[in-house]
Amino acid sequence: MQGKRFQVSVQQADFDVSALQRALMQDNHEEGAIASFTGYVRASNARRDLHTMELEHYPGMTENSIRDILAQASGRWPLLNAGVVHRVGALRPGEQIVWVGVASAHREAAFGACEFVMDYLKTRAPFWKRELGEEGAVWVDARESDTERAKRWLEIDE
């Protein structure tokens, strides 16, 4: 088995999920499964018509915290490769925000790790969303349900 590779990118540019997924494959074809998640800017919102989503982050810490999340995932599941791409800046409805991809020999590990990384990314990585609509700019509030989902993994440990 080749060494695990973690690809992390925080970028303004859009990304191509096919290319990202291909980059998770090794030459020795050990991978049987890739689970991936892509998050998009939704058009509808309880409060207003969204025209732009602005994403701010904490350069340096963002990359470190994502690498830490991937390292935790690879301690829980037998992963081969994993990658995270998170966009920052101004995004429009329908645009891709985030991609998480996890390659493993079998699907159990790939699915588990992909969901774990998303749950931790949502509650740990220093990104902040601001919605710009007709009524002006509003910072998005953290969701209690995201905190609860991330806590599940601690309960599984006990």
Partner: protein, 82 residues
């Protein structure tokens, strides 16, 4: 010592960050925070918000901790990425 503010906190303080010359009074995170609160009523209001998260050298800290010259400290609201 570098102090950074992000998102709603940055906006409320109208300040993205400060470079502070090291003082022995900054040897604890709580003491540094109290020093920042003394910059004015708005600073005390914003930095006293219950859900403020503190990070030292890119790691979130749950309680006060020892600081040393050259540390990078950040104050920010709960994260909402992903």
């Amino acid at each position: 010592m570098k102090v950074l503010f992000f998102a709603r906190v940055r906006e409320q303080l109208d300040c993205a960050g400060l470079e502070l010359p090291w003082q022995p009074a900054f040897c604890e995170l709580d003491a540094l925070q109290e020093h920042l609160c003394q910059k004015g009523a708005n600073w005390r209001d914003v930095l006293s918000q219950e859900n403020i998260i503190r990070a030292v050298n890119h790691s979130v800290v749950d309680s006060s901790c020892v600081l040393t010259d050259g540390d990078e400290v950040a104050f920010y609201p709960p994260v909402t990425g992903g």
